[in-house]
Structures are given as C-alpha cells and as structure tokens.
C-alpha cells in the first residue's frame, strides 16, 4: 500500500542537456506509442533516478506498512480474523519484495535500498508513522489506507516502466482481498454494539488527517512534473488521486453511520469536486522529516530485525556465488 506524494528529486535545468538527443527522441517515441520501457533499453539518467526513487519508496512503504497492522495479528478478534490479517501482512511483505526487485532492475541493489531506509535517507509513506491504538485502527488501515493505495497503484500500473507495471498488476490483484477484508471488518464494527461503533468512530477520527495527507500536497505545475508526466513516471496528480478516493469512499463511510471529522467536507455538485478543510501540511512535513509519533520505532524495529538476522544471512552466504541483476 502506498499513497502519492512521492518525494521526487528536484530537477536541474541542465538535467537533459547531456543526453544523446537521438536516443532521447527514440525513447520518447516509444513511450508515445504506448510501449513499455524494459530494463535493457536506453533511458535518460533522470528517468532512471526518479523511477528508482519512486519504486523504492513504494517498496519501503509495504515493509513499514506491515508493522502497524502486524501488531494486531495476535490480538485480532477470533481465529478467522487472525488468519486473514496474517495473510494480508504476508502479502504486504511480498509486495515489498516484488517492488525491490523491480527497482533492482534499474541498478540499485536491494541491500543498498534497505540500508537507505534504515539510515533515514529514503522515505516511505507518511501514514505509517502513526500508531494503531485499537483493533479498529487496524480495520481502518486494512480498508481505507489500502483503498487509497489502490487508487494510486492502479494509476501507476499504467506507467511506462515494464517491471514496475508487472509488479503493480500482481499487487493490485492481491489488494482486492485486502480491501474486501478491511471493509468487512469495518462493517462488522460499525453495525455492531454501541461500544464497537464508538471504537470505529474513534479510529476514523484519529486517521482522517493522516489519510488526507496520504496523497501528498497539491502538485505545483512545474517543468519537473510535466516531464515526469510525459515520460509516464507520474500518472496522476496528488489532487486527482485524493478526489478519486473521496468520491469512492466517503459515501461508503457515511452509509455505515460513521461521521468524518471535517465540517467542510462536501461534494460541490457544480464542479463535481470534493471540498474539504486544507490539511495541515506543516505537520505532514514535520512527520515525513522524522518527527512523527512512530518514526523512531518503525526504523528501530527494521534495524534490529536486520541486525539480529545477520548471522542467518552470514551462514547462508555462498562466497562463490555471483550476483546478477534480475532480468525483468
């Protein structure tokens, strides 16, 4: 699961000046024809760099995203919910693997990516820096955070880089179970006892602001995003994804008798756009830069897993084996 709001590197005005104009034209023509780019194709440095960054952030989000939900496996109500949540968390980690592999075809090793995650150099989806206080929080994540991620992933699966598209198609197919499972859990609480309803409402209240942050701030129209759109690296603006999410899910939240903690939230019937209170982007920045409630914990847990698993990898290491960049 992953939202928009990718942190792309700012582009220098000269970024394309060093590229071979003939190869660049062929590359762009291929994208214009609707053909995918494959790992062995020539590609501009900027394309490679931005894709690595985007796919890597996505992969980290899957791995870190497994933590707040993973917390609830042992305390999920009943055998069936435990089984399902365990399967879901396993899927998320599997998605991380698929995405690391896709990024790896662009030339950055999986180990370097994990290293950059743990050192804080790479980012992941901001929403996972918030804690899951109750079972209802876990239900909110399974349904609505995954729903937000699907909006973004479906858009990106139509992008131009073959290995990323293939990984996303596989991921989207699996996400349909997550979405249905999460919805099922929320329905159960929202239509349950008074206490269950209160718990669900409290979770919606807690998660709404991070959910609005999830898609990232409004994209400024820039040369930068224009070129990423042209190369089909970025497929939809953050605002488009947010609007699509609101359109699909606000009615589904309301029909369960739940309220959303934003008095200004309504659909403008004339423009067809949702109106809402502007999210607090200062908080978004603060949290993404390390000062959220769980940033430290998430990275510490990853680091300790990496360090404690070291001896296993050491034992498995075959010194004669040769690393080869994956093909596709």
């Amino acid at each position: 699961m992953y939202g928009g709001g990718n942190v792309f590197e700012t582009m220098k005005a000269t970024a394309l000046a060093d590229e071979d104009p003939v190869k660049l034209a062929e590359f762009e023509a291929r994208i214009d024809r609707g053909e995918k780019i494959e790992p062995t194709d020539w590609m501009p440095q900027l394309y490679r760099k931005q894709l690595i960054r985007m796919i890597e952030q996505h992969a980290h989000s899957e791995i870190i995203g497994a933590l707040p939900e993973g917390t609830w496996i042992t305390r999920a109500p009943g055998f069936k919910r435990k089984l399902a949540l365990m399967a879901k968390v396993q899927d998320e980690v599997g998605h991380g693997q698929l995405l690391y592999s896709a990024a790896e075809t662009l030339g950055k090793s999986r180990e370097q990516m994990i290293q950059d995650l743990i050192s804080g150099k790479s980012k992941y989806s901001n929403i996972f820096n918030y804690p899951a206080f109750t079972w209802a929080d876990s239900c909110f994540i399974s349904w609505l955070v995954d729903a937000g991620a699907i909006v973004n992933q479906v858009a990106n699966s139509k992008g131009s880089y073959g290995p990323y598209c293939r990984a996303l198609e596989r991921i989207c197919a699996e996400e349909s179970f997550h979405l249905k499972y999460g919805h099922h859990c929320v329905i159960h609480l929202a239509t349950g006892t008074k206490k269950q309803r209160e718990m669900m409402q409290a979770a919606v209240n807690r998660w709404w602001a991070p959910m609005m942050h999830f898609f990232g701030p409004s994209d400024k129209i820039s040369v930068h995003s224009e070129i990423l759109m042209r190369w089909k690296v970025k497929m939809a603006s953050n605002d488009e994804c947010r609007q699509q999410f609101l359109d699909m899910y606000v009615p589904k939240i309301w029909e369960l008798g739940l309220t959303i903690p934003d008095e200004k939230l309504k659909k403008n019937q004339e423009t067809g756009q949702w109106e809402f209170t502007e999210p607090d982007w200062e908080e978004f920045k603060r949290v993404i830069n390390g000062d959220g409630p769980c940033n430290k914990e998430r990275l510490a847990v990853r680091r300790i897993a990496e360090e404690r698993g070291r001896w296993v990898r050491q034992a498995l290491l075959a010194p004669k084996s040769k690393y080869v960049t994956p093909l596709a």
Binding site: R33, E35, K36, I37, E38, T71, T74, K80, L83, A87, Q90, G94, Q97, L98, S101, S109, E111, I114, Q115, I118, S119, P131, A132, C165, R166, A167, R170, E174, S176, F177, L179, K180, H183, H184, I187, H188, A190, T191, E255, L256, G257, K296, E297, A300, V301, R303, E306, E307, R310, R313, L316, L317, A318, S321, K322, Y323, V324, P326, L327, A328
Partner: protein
C-alpha cells in the same frame, strides 16, 4: 528505552537512539538471483512470474513457491532458473521481430537441449514456447526461428539450457492442493452487502 504501544516491541528493549549507524549490509546479502516461471493449469504455457534472491536453487524454488504461488485458487507447476544461466537476446520495439536480426546456418549438432521463451508484448511476461535441440545458445536461437513460425513479432527471446532448470515434478502438484482451502485469502470470502442493507433498513 523506546516506548511502544506494542508489547512485543517493548520486549526488544530498543534504545531511544542508536549510538552508531548500522554496519553496512551491502556485501553480506548479495545472493544470486533466480527467475521464476509459473504454470497455472496443465497444458498452459509457463509464464515468467518474477525473480527471487536465494543462496541456492532449492531455496530459490521455496521462495518462489511462497512469493508467486501462495495466492490464486490454482497452480499446476513451478520452475526456477539462475539468472546468469539465461541467454537474453536483443530487445526490439514497434512491430520489429527480433528474429529478423538472426540469420545464417546452424550446425547439425543437436547434442544439447534448450528451452525458449518469447516476449510478445512489451510490458508483459515472457512465455514458454518450446524446446529445441542444438549445439549452443546461438544455434538454439536459429533453430527456434526455424522451428516456431511466428504470426506476431517477438520482441525478446530468452534461451535456457534444459538442464539448468529446476522444475517441480508432476507428483509435486499436490503442493498447491491447499490453495482451494485458503479462501480467506480471496476477496470473494468477504461478502457483506446483506449486512449493510440490514443496517440501513434498521436505521431508516
């Protein structure tokens, strides 16, 4: 000490701040990569599913089984090949058949066996086409060009020596028999429309 809502995290006794940066993991984990191919139903061609990192072929098979065949209601067979054992042709685009760039004669020597995979559309998976007998990779490509007539352009070809493939045995097919019992992994197991309807009627 780092305080968490999760008792399991608290039991790890993690420091509030690590004193030193983590030691580099770069050299430690560079396992070999393997390409995994999956056959969903008997008689269907194997398709490239993705890659796994593993310390050896058998672990690669296990990882691939978990990664690429734990979901879905059916699977019939799985195979893995070390990435370095795959000979990759050039890649073409815009309706140009990659086989057009291979020509010449090839030797009668058919002492080795090769498996051929084609990419029929950029962005899709490589699909298994068939087996050829030849002397080496180059001859295998030429033999494949002759043996498998094409109606559509092929953009990329992978050639693998048959002996380099680790394939599940037909009797292993029961590895995937449990998939049907794992309905809880499928969206279809979570129907709730009736519950919403009942709730709405109750509220009305």
């Amino acid at each position: 000490m780092l305080k968490s809502l999760d008792p399991r995290v608290n039991r790890l006794n993690l420091p509030e701040q690590f004193e030193a940066p983590m030691a580099s993991i770069e050299a430690l984990d560079q396992f070999e990569t393997y390409q995994a191919f999956v056959q969903l139903k008997e008689g269907k061609p194997f398709e490239h599913a993705g890659i796994v990192h593993a310390p050896n072929e058998e672990m690669a098979f296990l990882f691939a089984k978990e990664q690429y065949t734990r979901r879905g209601m059916i699977c019939n067979a799985l195979c893995v090949v070390k990435t370095e054992s795959i000979m990759v042709s050039e890649i073409t685009d815009n309706g140009q058949d990659v086989y057009d760039s291979f020509s010449g004669s090839f030797s009668e020597d058919d002492s080795a066996s090769f498996e051929i995979f084609h990419l029929l559309k950029r962005g899709k998976q490589h699909k298994y086409i068939g087996n050829v007998k030849a002397k080496d990779f180059e001859d295998a490509l030429l033999a494949s060009k002759q043996l498998y007539p094409r109606t559509k352009p092929v953009y990329n070809v992978w050639v693998v020596r048959s002996e380099d493939i680790l394939m599940s045995e037909p009797e292993d097919a029961d590895l995937w028999n449990t998939l049907k019992e794992k309905q809880y992994r499928e969206a279809i197991a979570y129907k709730a429309a009736d519950k919403i309807k009942a709730f709405k009627e109750e509220q009305a």
